[in-house]
Symmetry: C2
Subunit: 212 residues, 2 copies
Amino acid sequence: MPSSTTDKSAGSRRDQILREAARLFASRGFHGVGVDEIGAAVGISGPGLYRHFAGKDAMLAELLVGISGRLLAEGKRRKAEAEDAHSALESLVRGHIDFALDDRPLITLHDRELDRLRESDRKLVRQLQRQYVELWVEVVREVYPGLAEPEARACVHAVFGLINSTPHSTSAPRSTPAPGRTAMAFLLHRLALGAFGAAADGQPSRHDHPFE
Amino acid sequence: MPSSTTDKSAGSRRDQILREAARLFASRGFHGVGVDEIGAAVGISGPGLYRHFAGKDAMLAELLVGISGRLLAEGKRRKAEAEDAHSALESLVRGHIDFALDDRPLITLHDRELDRLRESDRKLVRQLQRQYVELWVEVVREVYPGLAEPEARACVHAVFGLINSTPHSTSAPRSTPAPGRTAMAFLLHRLALGAFGAAADGQPSRHDHPFE
DNA sequence: GGCAATAGTTAACGACCACTAACGTGACCA
DNA sequence: TGGTCACGTTAGTGGTCGTTAACTATTGCC
């Protein structure tokens, strides 16, 4: 039984393993998942994974570096292609929402298992994350010049939390059905922009900043 | 070296252990922390913890049940004491923000390590969480009658994500200082209410509330 | 003083787990 | 045909970790 076309796997074996590992890590935590389990999820058993990865840590590292890099690259692209700041912000929001809705396990790992990385990888991921945040902050401050930089950064973090919250809401069956994907995307879009707008309202435009 | 008055511990030894366990669980994950480490954090070593708790699982269970119960109780109290729906929502937001800012480790555990519980405990925690969400949903729909129930629930989840995002933003030192506690609380308050307002805007139904 | 309770200690045990070693097997190819 | 390489397998190993056992010290009570 050679490769044929594996059930629902589009890419290589590596990609299949990464996808299943992401799912398992997200649902039970990095330390809560054994290599045997990851192997079983792709049809091979245990140490066979070591033909594809140096170790369990390497899988997590590749996942986190990959996701951070993709977020940043996509963000840069969207900002560059937008005509003005306002549409850039909308595009950023839309892109992040798509990401959160389509790659739930990755977005969960992204802010949950960062500390399980080797020092060097963690540094790299944090740098990519920081660049991504700064990209948002620039756009947000261009749209709302009244926002001071620390406030804008806090807002961006909060909106990330808002958008990234969707994976958590899949816990239990409801009496009333949850909104579908497109409705959810639309709703999150409104929520995120509404939050930014509310942050800018009543902000002294010249800002001599009011913390503490 | 007996008890004297332990450094900064207000309550009993149990409480001290719980506090340190929460901090460690939040920063390195339930599986990532060993009992020896928890013991060391309170000055005793390893198995001494078993004089106070049945096991590591029991600590997590008590933490999660405790926090869920406190959130719900406080939420009920605030709703009951509010004069109208709008001030009830404001009070709920304020309460949840205070909680997120003052008990960061707990709020992190709350939506991260739920699956590490025994079936019965997990069921209990989920029930408390659900009641808390429903309490919010009722208030939100009273303030914004145009919101359908599923949308309102999604909004509540999203706003929780927004408010709960604050613990994650403490990762690295910044060039510009982060907002202080009171400024952060104020900002989160505006963000949360702004998000709710934006969710209700453009929603078809009969809402006619004057502001916004 | 005797005695029980409380709150620790160290040593050890058993399970689990990431990883390695040694081996097998089919595909491709000169 | 025979060699090599990609990709598995099972068995084993060393280390970690939760938990228990056995023992000790301090404290308050009669």
